[in-house]
Amino acid sequence: MEGKKEEKKPKNRVKMREQDPLTRARNFNEVPYGYTPFDAVEEASRCLSCKRPTCREGCPVEVDIPGFISLIKERKFLEACYKVKGKNALPAVCGRVCPQEIQCESLCILGKKGEPVAIGNLERFVADYEAEKGEIKVPEKPKPTGRKVVIIGSGPGGLTCAADLAKSGHQVTLFEALQKPGGVLIYGIPEFRLPKVIVEREVEYIKKLGVELILDAVIGKLYTVDELLNDKGYDACFIATGAGLPIFMGILGENLNGIYSANEFLTRANLMKAYLFPEYDTPIKRGKKVAVFGGGNVAMDSARVALRLGAERVYLIYRRSEAEMPARKAEVHHAYEEGIEFLLLTNPTRFIDDGKGNVCGVECIKMELGEPDESGRRRPVPIKGSEFQIEIDIAIPALGTRANPLLTKTMPDLKLNKRGYIVAEEETGMTSKLGVFAGGDIVTGAATVILAMGAGKKAARAINEYLKWKYWDFKS
């Protein structure tokens, strides 16, 4: 027995094939190609099917990870997909954009000695397999409960909550301000990382569950939440409007032409498909020398889009060091490979005007790491006299977002925190306003797709309970 175990040393992960870095840096096609069925079975066979699977605890939407992986081992790919979809309505999305390294995979037992099972890659494989086979199965419609729930915002939080509530038999209406559903998945995350047909496919599935989707509807303007609850007869409301307001740096010259918030740059490129201009009408400036500021996913995405729009040089300027970068590791790695130039421990101090109102350069200062700050990360401090200038024609601050007050300011009875985010109970999403739940970035501040989905799932459960008992006990 012992000897046999020795032989079964954990194999390495099955790598996913990718487009060559220099080729992909000039196109918008997806970077990794995905697993073949052979790869998937091979990778799945690494899983030990643990009795007490720790990986599951790392999944906010409670996917039965060893369960679906076992089905892959048996080559029951469709069944594996249905198993995932029982809990997760957006598997093809999650398989691509979740930071598995800090979620499920960080808890996989194999990670203690070697590489954890590539859970994300397998999830992506089963979802793509189902779509390719064209056998998208919709669960049987449950008995209608006669209850109506309204959801505001069609990002991952709203979509997950909508799917779960529809599966419970409630009548669900989902309002979205933009012309397309998906939130950040559609306007923020670029095509080469998350092809839009995949988002469309998963949204289509949620519509098939019976969710009514109303686009172009800015709640707070078109209807207030009170109107929806009192006049339109909705029994409960879930707010998942995301964070969404761009933060600027407040430095000189920031309103010069050629300076885009990452939100604007990515919205033009992704939602409006400006990279296809003039086929599509929305223009975008194609810079030769582009500077992106920040170290998160948003910064990586902006830099890589700029590259694909034809930039000769793209600088990623971040005030801390690589270790502190909040972006997914895979994306930082991809950015490096594609030739993004990282200027770390560097902070911009002002933008330079070409005399005609366009940005033509940025002045930066070098930083060093000092004492740890509240976040536990070492605080960067400027090094006196280390200023230098770089020539650029496009600048993209990607320094995070704030809460958008557009909706919340029409709800004076909704408790917000100091930063304008909605105060909601973590386990239920319950807010200070009767019948109103909230979750995702509008509660936590900019976070991740899976955390927003987890919040949507918990809120759906709590809304179910609320619709049964009509009991409201908000503690906070």
Partner: protein, 278 residues
Amino acid sequence: MFKILKKKELSDVVTLFEIDAKDIARKVQPGNFFVLKIHEQGERIPLTIADFDREKGTLTTVFQKVGKTTYHLGTLNEGVFIMDIIGPLGIPSHIENYGKVVCIGGGVGIAPVYPIARALKEAGNIIISIIGARTKNLIFWKEKMRNVSDELIVTTDDGSYGRKAVVTIPLDELLREDKDIKLVIAIGPAIMMKFVCRTTAKYNVKTIVSLNSIMVDATGMCGACRVEVGGETKFACVDGPEFDGHKVDFDQLMKRQQMYLDEEKIALERYREKYGIK
């Protein structure tokens, strides 16, 4: 999908649409605007609201053909559907009884100033309106404006209609002679609003302008519309579109409005070529 119920050419470059948009019409107020996208490949552009009818559930907008999207829009006929209309957006005009108010509309800016003038009139104000344009055939809604004004002055740059002047000339005279004017509202090209503000600053009369920045989402999410007001960066779509004109950095606004001149030219030429329009 939103149906065009009525179309009227106000001049060879200015068109009026009445659009079926019940939910928006229910909520819209003077000073609001909306965003429109004609079709799948289209861009999102903000347009002002010139009038609305809550009973009929309609919005009226007046636009000038300047770029590809507005040219294309101008070719659409009654009965045709527009893919996306999003609104009402922006903070509505603040309406109260100020006393005496001057309402200025320049070019297509005449349209959005109309519902504001009407609301101010209904609130008991004395309204003096000045409407101006480059030349005669760009002046429209003279009668409508007269109906909501106690006095109406019409100007054209070339003198082909009304007084040969830019709007700031009669404005200056009014302010000089009448110390009771409490407020000036000006909507039109940025350059006009800039000079209106210069004029009113001399007399220290509060001036509200409505800014037509480039926008994308128009819900505060992107910052395309940002403009400096009183030294602070504001988003025209959610903090405005109306601002205290004396605090607006119009030069910056005008530069930002020109950010895509090259691209607009490419798009328009391509469109004209495709449809054989000169």
